[in-house]
Assembly symmetry: C2
Homo-oligomer: 437 residues x 2
């Protein structure tokens, strides 16, 4: 084996491989952005390469956030304490006034910086001007899954619905050689996009080998609208238009009946659970234990910062592990290893990228993070997996590597000037506030 | 006005007074551990006293955690992924093997250090050997509300039930001159303590001007046990024995009927909502919006680290603000100012200490914290209250003051050697693990 570029040693390496292997006093060797070796420290020699001693920290895969609208971070906390409908109307008013390409780039940088600092190394993002999201992701060094938006009403970009297919196709061309980008098609939802446009988006995604992702079954109102309009519930409607399958990622899936869970399982469709968004927007409780029992792959998402109000996948993981215990009355519902898998390898699987990301295994990308365990809330440490799920948080992430490149060091983002970014966003406040005045 | 000892200036002072006043570019002057003045920076001169510039931070009252078992932090993460009953049996086995006074002191130091680092300045704690909790609290500088435990079965301290009243009375004597201690009586619950002993505890607490706190209506099983044994539901049982009132603090109150909510409201009894514990132990969802509507004072708690697995009151606040939206289907349920009040002044009120703590007002104790707003998840900042409730977290707390004494500075606890504490606790791991082997 050729010498690695560098080796990281840590008291625990939580691999998130299929056996959820935890290596005490472990090490990971990295060469050309790939994990060259992982194992007990003694079995992973540094051969004179740089040795990073991650004392007092867990080494684990970077988190995979499978549903986000990073650019919406610009509207974080703008309106609160209203029922859903007037709240949404107000937020949309601000979006329509503010969202040009430059604002979307700024919002994306803000959201992606937050994600990296909290240990997310791959994010699926649905937002206007996705090419701006790609620019922000490249500048920061994070992996991003995104692509063309489909939305029948006039969008923030002023484009008409019939132009969207061309935009989406152009996106695939534009990112063909971008190693950090997973391209796909992201129609908004079955209640906002016609069956014809949904089908076009699906055909385009499949013809280009990309993913297809949409909001599905988030609210009772959405189910009622779709059922009223098409005579079928949301998941059946997607099935009718050939929009289920192992290349399909459905965000939310809160309101499902047994037949819909069966359709998702039989088709290998992936579900993204966004527990905090579902709580704050009063959407309800996704049937996660039933989905897991049916064999559906469930990943995790933060949703956007207007329904959060932050992009904290640690909180999503904690809620995924606890919320369903109270809902089902079963304190054993959703085990620790299941919750950790949702935040890591299940996301990779939903992206069709299990061979590259989501776990620390030789031959996969060197996307990993260091999580401090030297604070009171980490002691005693009996089980690193339980600790990560039930006690760790974004504030514990000290270092982040994507493809072997260190993007966060000792809590500092190396690829952006965070102070300038925060100041730049706050400088937009008057304009945003004026938009809803 | 005499010169202050020091003045802190911050871009926002969130006072948590009754009007939830937020002062932009504010300052707080401290003299003899008391807030001498609070207002716009220009109106609070430092008069040559030390000036602390809290740039990029919010100054707010220290958090008040009204239900905790700090010593139980020793068993954090020891057992997971079991149904409630076998899980509890295993944890209790470990507790019985480990909990002597020295272990309780260590566990209390661990838990209280975690609390201080996260911005909690007052905690109500129920645990064995409460005098050890007091020693730990004095060493660290945190305010603690605690006192004698009542439990009919043999306790961890080997004392019989009939000795507990004398122990509890001795506790009041022992802490008479401790300025940071709120003494009370803390029977475990109505299903573990006989009516006679509950009554004795209540009489003792009232005769000494202390609080009475117990677990109440946490689970369906508890309601069934109490109803089966006494022919009354839990809150009615407490009322029957004169154990409701403005000096009574009931932890949990998850399973209440309308009559019980009426009894709580009419008596001025305080409720402590512990949302994360209620989720993880599969207890259910407390009827917080109904309690608020009825006029009941609702405070927040973390519960212990075996049902958490940490002591994060920020998470409790976030859940208090979001969980009930999904339960009720109303996105306006529990407003931001209500959630922030639960984490601060409502706790002070439950302790009968509204004149001293819970908000930043002249004449009250200088218990306050600084919360960073210079990170991506704090931008843009439209409303500091919404930010604190929906986006801030324990990782943002940089400084903590209790009675004007700085206990945490730039994230470092000044009153304990955290590294030694964490190492000391981890050294106990083999003994704890052996206890359940």
């Amino acid at each position: 084996m050729p010498s690695p570029d560098f080796v990281v040693r840590a008291p625990y390496v939580v691999t998130c491989d299929d056996a959820m292997t935890v290596i005490e006093d472990g090490a990971v060797a990295v060469r050309d952005g790939i994990v060259a070796a992982v194992g007990p420290a003694g079995a992973v020699p540094s051969d004179g390469a740089e040795l990073i001693e991650a004392a007092g920290r867990i080494l684990m895969p970077g988190l995979v956030n499978m549903h986000c609208h990073a650019g919406d971070s610009l509207f974080r906390g703008l309106v609160e304490n209203l029922p859903l409908e007037p709240w949404l109307e107000t937020v949309w008013k601000a979006e329509r006034a503010i969202l040009d390409p430059a604002a979307c780039r700024l919002g994306a940088e803000l959201g992606l910086a937050e994600l990296l600092l909290s240990g997310v190394t791959t994010v699926m993002d649905m937002f206007w001007f996705p090419e701006e999201t790609v620019r922000a992701a490249k500048a920061l060094g994070i992996r991003v899954a995104t692509g063309g938006i489909f939305f029948d009403p006039p969008g923030m970009d002023g484009h008409l619905a019939d132009r969207r297919l061309a935009d989406a196709a152009a996106f695939f061309d534009a990112v063909e050689d971008e190693p950090l980008v997973f391209p796909g098609c992201l129609p908004h939802g079955t209640y906002t996009v016609s069956p014809e446009h949904l089908r076009s988006a699906g055909r385009l995604a499949r013809s280009r080998g990309g993913f297809f992702s949409t909001h599905a079954a988030e609210t009772v109102a959405e189910q009622a609208t779709v059922t009223g309009r098409y005579g079928r519930r949301v998941i059946a409607h997607l099935a009718e238009h050939d929009l289920l399958g192992p290349d399909v990622v459905l965000a939310h899936c809160v309101h499902l009946d047994a037949a819909e869970i069966g359709l998702l399982a039989a088709s290998g469709t992936h579900v993204v659970h966004n527990p905090l968004s579902n709580l704050k927007l009063a959407s309800g409780f996704a049937p996660v234990p039933a989905l897991l029992r049916a064999g559906v792959n469930v990943a995790l998402g933060t949703d956007g910062a207007i329904s959060g109000n932050d992009l904290d996948l640690w909180l999503a993981m904690r809620l995924a592990a606890t919320l369903h215990k109270a809902v089902t009355g079963d304190a054993a519902a959703v085990a620790t290893h299941e919750a950790l898998a949702m935040a890591t390898k299940n996301g990779a699987r939903a992206l069709g990228a299990s061979d590259r990301i989501g776990s620390i295994e030789a031959g996969k990308a060197a996307d990993f993070i260091l999580v401090a365990i030297d604070k009171p809330h980490a002691a005693p440490l009996f089980d690193p997996v339980a600790h990560l799920v039930y006690s760790a948080g974004r504030g514990d992430v000290t270092d982040v590597f994507v493809a072997g490149r260190r993007l966060v060091e000792s809590g500092r983002l190396l690829t952006a000037d965070v102070a300038a970014l925060v100041a730049g966003v706050n400088a937009l406040r008057p304009a945003i506030a004026a938009a809803i005045a």
